[in-house]
């Protein structure tokens, strides 16, 4: 690690001691080596300076009148603005008990008084180095997690990418990337595919598999495949990829605009909802097995007549559950009511409203949340 130079952006060390001479001694040791220093004669000033100046390290005298060094430490650790600043105690109390107390309090090190110049410098350097490494790691982690989110976003179709599909979507993964997935794409001849899937679990391992689902789906969708063929393909390939105890549910809706026909297959997934142009809702129960888990899965499809202005909604169970696995019936009723209530609004706006109503921001979530809405339009 390169020597510290006394530059404006060099890390500052805050020295806290009620005894002027001690304070000056430690300060001069640091300044001689090029460190930038701040000083305080009591705990209160120390805390103020820490909040305002954000020093990289604090050398804190233990024996101070009024607020002791331990008390100051406790306060610094309980304030989010200063909790991460490492603290080295300085004390004439050289016994093990005091040292242990200091370390338990949250200090990272303990230097006995009278201080030895070389020892102070050595310990200060070690802890500054550790701090630097931690910051680098945190920044790298943040970048990596951001990459995961961007990677998942890249495989999700945006409404503007497929205008002929006339769809809107709200997707809120629980973590940076989630186990919910959707895909919307044209199959030719005025037929559009809408697909929503929920890979069990959430977080990175589930998110990772969404890319595989997209690939398999695209491969098995198209004019040559019936909707059942598509789901069978997804079931078969995902069954080979997922780990033990992992599965996915999915809802696949194929809209043939020219014929006015909507075909839905729902594999272990909550039912799709249709709200016709008159605002009348229909819950599309099309129960098939979850995918990726049973070798021979039963697939059942539902065919409906649809017309211009009708809307349909696909979503994940994170949208309707009130506890893990629970409250689905009430959640579904609320969702249907919301879909009907906001039917008169433009599609994108009504979708946001429905989402906000069912899942207010303030509410704690434990699962990924996905709502996809589409309108039948020529």
């Amino acid at each position: 690690m390169p020597e510290q130079h006394a530059e404006m952006d060099a890390p500052a060390v805050l020295v806290v001691d009620d005894t002027r001479t001690s304070l000056e001694l430690v300060r001069s040791i640091l300044v001689a080596e090029g460190f930038r220093t701040l000083t305080a004669g009591d705990g209160r000033t120390a805390r103020q300076l820490s909040r305002d100046e954000q020093p990289a390290l604090i050398l804190l005298d233990v024996m101070m009148p009024g607020e002791s060094g331990f008390e100051t430490c406790a306060q610094l650790k309980s304030d989010p603005a200063t909790a991460d600043i490492p603290i080295i105690f300085l004390s004439a109390l050289d016994d093990v008990k005091s040292k242990v107390a200091g370390l338990k309090m949250g200090g990272v090190d303990y230097i006995a008084k009278p201080v030895d110049g070389e020892e102070v410098l050595a310990r200060v350097r070690v802890h500054l180095r550790i701090r630097q490494t931690n910051r680098t790691l945190v920044a790298e982690q943040r970048a990596r997690v951001g990459e995961l989110r961007d990677a998942q976003q890249a495989i999700l179709t945006r409404p503007e990418d497929c205008p002929e599909a006339h769809f809107a979507v709200v997707y809120k993964p629980l973590e940076e990337a989630g186990g919910d997935f959707y895909d919307v794409f044209p199959l030719g001849d005025g037929i559009v595919a809408y697909f929503v899937a929920d890979i069990s679990g959430h977080g990175a391992s589930a998110a990772f598999l969404t890319a595989a689902v997209k690939a398999v789906l695209r491969q098995f969708a198209g004019p040559l495949y019936t909707p059942e063929d598509t789901m069978r393909g997804v079931n078969s390939v995902m069954g080979q990829i997922v780990s033990e105890g992992q599965y996915l549910t999915a809802c696949y809706a194929r809209l043939n605009r020219e014929r006015g026909r909507l075909t839905v297959i729902s594999a272990g997934h909550p039912p799709a909802i249709l709200v016709n142009r008159a605002g009348v809702p229909v819950t599309i129960e099309a129960g098939s097995d979850p995918l990726g888990v049973f070798g021979k899965s039963t697939l059942r499809r539902t065919d409906l007549r649809v017309a211009e202005g009708d809307r349909f909604f696909l979503y994940s169970d994170g949208f309707i559950e009130s506890t893990p696995g629970g409250g689905r019936r009430e959640g579904l009723e609320r969702l249907v009511r919301a879909c009907v209530e906001h039917h008169g609004l433009p599609l994108a706006e009504s979708t946001s409203r429905i989402a906000a109503e069912l899942r207010p921001e303030a509410q704690a979530a434990w699962d990924d949340q996905l709502l996809l809405a589409a309108e039948v339009r020529s």
Partner: protein, 102 residues
């Protein structure tokens, strides 16, 4: 603590706590694996105290069903709450293994 009762080749497993969810599923998974390795062919899962099952829990049930079926046996879920029975039925799991309520 998971409670396991054995009788010939039948094993009844009653999970601890009130939830079969990702955070706490490790112990149940180990117990199920153990009874299967010990040769249980009739696997009974007693969900008497269970209020919540998330997707990890459901996945574990499906995996247990697959494992015991492959070995020529079968899984039965008993004492499931009304809400859980509804969930299993919504996912058509009752077509694969027996599910009964309180």
């Amino acid at each position: 603590m998971t409670v396991v009762t054995r009788e010939d080749n039948k094993a009844t497993v009653r999970p601890a706590g009130d939830a079969i969810v990702a955070a706490t599923i490790g112990e149940l998974r180990s117990e199920l694996r153990a009874v299967l390795e010990q040769g249980a062919r009739e696997l009974v899962l007693d969900l008497a105290d269970i209020r919540m099952v998330d997707s990890s829990g459901l996945g574990l049930l499906m995996a247990a069903h697959n494992s015991v079926s492959r070995a020529g046996g079968r899984l039965a879920v008993i004492h499931a709450s009304a809400e859980l029975v509804e969930l299993f039925q919504a996912m058509r799991l009752h077509q694969h293994f027996s599910v009964s309520g309180n």
